[in-house]
Amino acid sequence: MLPTIWFLLWGVLWAVYFMLDGFDLGLGVLMPFLAKTDTERRLIYRAMGPHWDGNEVWLITAGGVTFAAFPTAYAVMFSGLYSALMLILFALIFRGISFAFRDAVASPGWKSFWDWSLILGSFLPALLFGVAFANLFQGIPIGEGGLFQGGLLTLINPYGLAGGLLFLLLFTVHGALWLAIKSTGDLHHRAAAMARRLWPWLLVMAVIFLLATRRWTFLYDNYLAHPVLFLLPVAAVVALILIRLFMGKAQWWRAWFASAGLIGSATLFGVVGLYPDLLRSSIDPAFSLNIANAASSPLTLKIMLGVALTFVPLVIAYQVWAHYLFKDQVREEDLEHEEAY
């Protein structure tokens, strides 16, 4: 029972991370297409400024929980996906630092260096998280004793790339919607138009991914065994349609929440299909790491559950408060305050 609860919590943590950081990763990717002037670029930074760091802590927590609840899976996953993970980490470092550094020096070269850090530093994680998770869904070549048998390019395969593209589209739509909420004038119109233009591509990619999942993974097995679970992919489809409806009515907050719902349910769709495996071996199912052979001791899981049930609601409460505090649109006069980036 405890390992199952933790498996679900593990999935939920990753889902929350993607729902939150997804918008600032996506917005980082879109910045060169949306901002024409330095002021507009600063407005985009400012729209993410109070949130990106708090969002990224969900990644640290998701990683930490993988370590704490399923140490064997953590060990195999992170050493097996070594190069991809390191690439993500370096990208996240550059991107995070660009927020603090970009406007500290007035030189255009300096600014442009950090702008590109933000753009690439957002693009790579958005793409690579998709590639990595699609590969987890599909199974990776784990041999006996959890030894990773693949090479550098193992992750680059059609299904993995489909996952990468899907994440990229999910996050860019999410980011465009965020900017549509947060901005006014030209920037707002460009963000709104971008979200509307990207949506059909997201739809196409989602359909391709669902079909590819049928072709290359066993994710549907759990769903066929327990048809009630189909509510999850149905929820994702409904959320996808709702995004379009709300965009049509220019209700940006609602569209953003629908988009968050889509990202969350899409992640959970994969995670639930994976159960009870955390890492499915593509060599032999006997080598797979699952909630039985990869979990921590019951005592650790129990203590961790106590900590999570006490503190995660508290975290959610103050993060919601922080979001509420900065709910307003960002305007040019906000940039004049000295505390702004």
């Binding site: 760091d53 140490p71 390191m86 001791s297």
Partner: protein, 443 residues
């Protein structure tokens, strides 16, 4: 080089770099919180400007600290997967708790603090920086509890080929962890104090923003004075714990080869690891080592020769790092005590101010040296007495680690240069003129 050596170097580079920035975060957050509290209580606008000026430096420094911390967490999985699997039940949960309790708190409320000057009441805004200070120190507590478990594993049982948790309370309350926490954060507070004093001295020497930087200097002086003195007493107690639970580390710290009662200390010595002796020994203090480690000159101190060679840490490095740390620790106490007597006539003490300006790097060196003692002195173990470092490394190709190690060195050097460029630039610039004040006037 093999994947083991490369992974060790990579972890050392990553920790070293991370720990350049973390101590300033730990101490400066408290100093800023005190400044803002004085502002809220007295309404003195200077203290508001103080909090903002030092806050700017804090934010740059904080960003690097946080982002380089993420790579550390993930490296346990990427490079030390055998370790992660073996001790994840305990070590992993401590890291996860750290993230849940502390990281959310500090990152969320720091953002609110940065952007909330005009949105929150002064009291609530001040509370935010206190939460940041509390959370960053709380995170230090949890990571040091985790590190202490590597120094002195308790509360576990070996089951199914791994260390499993049996007593959570024993782990989080073990005296070694508490000592290590106080030792590390006191060092961090000294560093932050010296940083603020050094930057203030720069401006006071130039006779600019005198009121602003006198206030900064005095506040930092009190802070650094308290913790420099406390650190000496506490460091001694901490050393006693090391003697009790990590005899090989103690012997390496002192380059002490032969087991003996009434063990002396030497004012100066040169270790000769190859021949298991000291090349030069000078200035004998009879019985001092026994006395310091066990509070009795009669006590026996085990020497390195009594341990098999494959259980000894690198002696010269541990020894030099320890001496450096202790020597600097006493220097900090001396400098802050002198400062206490000069506190009311700082401007008439240019020599002292100059010394304090050039003293900024010293606590950085002392803290890194302290970590070398802790981590190198623990070798060849990754978990003292339980798991060897060479058994902990991931089954990954050396070429992979070689590439990322190169990337770490390159990227971190670049970022380090950029960060210090920004911090120094901002520090030299001084506070912005007060609203409405003509340019160049005293703030």
């Amino acid at each position: 080089m093999d994947a083991l050596m490369l992974s060790r170097l990579q972890f050392a580079v990553a920790t070293f770099f991370h720990f350049i920035f973390v101590p300033l975060t730990l101490g400066l957050s408290i100093l800023i919180a005190v400044m803002e509290t004085i502002y809220v209580r007295t309404g003195d606008e200077t203290y508001r400007s103080l909090a903002k000026f030092w806050g700017r430096i804090f934010v740059i420094n904080f960003a690097i600290g946080v982002l380089t911390g993420i790579t550390l967490e993930f490296q346990f999985g990427t490079n030390w997967s055998r370790y992660s699997r073996y001790v994840g039940d305990i070590f992993g949960s401590l890291l996860a708790i750290e993230a849940t309790l502390a990281f959310f708190l500090e990152s969320t409320f720091l953002a609110v603090w940065i952007f909330g000057w005009n949105r929150l009441s002064p009291k609530l805004h001040c509370l935010c920086i206190w939460l940041v200070a509390f959370a960053s120190n709380l995170s230090a507590l949890w990571i040091l509890i985790a590190n202490s478990w590597m120094q002195h594993p308790v509360g576990y049982a070996i089951r199914e080929g791994r260390a499993e948790l049996t007593d959570f309370l024993a782990i989080v309350t073990q005296p070694f962890a508490i000592q290590q926490f106080f030792h590390t954060v006191s060092g961090a507070y000294i560093l932050a104090g010296f940083f603020v004093m050094g930057v203030s001295a720069y401006h006071l020497l130039r006779r600019q923003h005198i009121d602003f930087f006198t206030k900064s200097f005095r506040l930092a002086l009190i802070f650094a004075l308290i913790f420099s003195l406390a650190e000496i007493v506490q460091g001694h107690i901490h050393g006693g714990e090391v003697a009790k639970i990590q005899p090989t580390k103690l012997a390496a710290m002192e380059s002490h080869w032969n087991t003996q009662a009434d063990a002396p200390q030497w004012l100066f010595l040169i270790p000769d690891e190859k021949n298991e002796r000291n090349l030069v020994e000078f200035g004998r203090l009879p019985g001092a080592l026994s006395l310091l480690a066990y509070h009795s000159t009669a006590a026996t101190v085990k020497g390195l020769k009594d341990f098999p060679p494959d259980e000894r840490p690198p002696v010269a490095l541990t020894f030099v790092a320890f001496r450096t740390m202790v020597g600097l620790g006493f220097l900090f106490a001396l400098l802050t005590v002198v400062g206490w007597f000069k506190r009311n006539r700082l401007l008439e003490s240019p020599t002292y101010l100059k010394i304090m300006l050039y003293a900024i790097p010293l606590p950085y060196i002392a803290l890194q040296a302290g970590w070398i003692v802790t981590e190198v002195g623990r070798q060849p173990w990754i978990v003292y007495g339980l798991m060897r470092t060479k058994d902990a490394v991931s089954p990954i190709a050396a070429s992979q680690v070689g590439v990322t190690l190169g990337a770490f060195i390159l990227v971190y050097t670049l970022l380090g240069v950029a960060a210090f460029y920004l911090i120094i630039r901002h520090a030299r610039l001084g506070p912005p003129p007060a609203p409405g004040a003509p340019a160049g006037e005293e703030v």
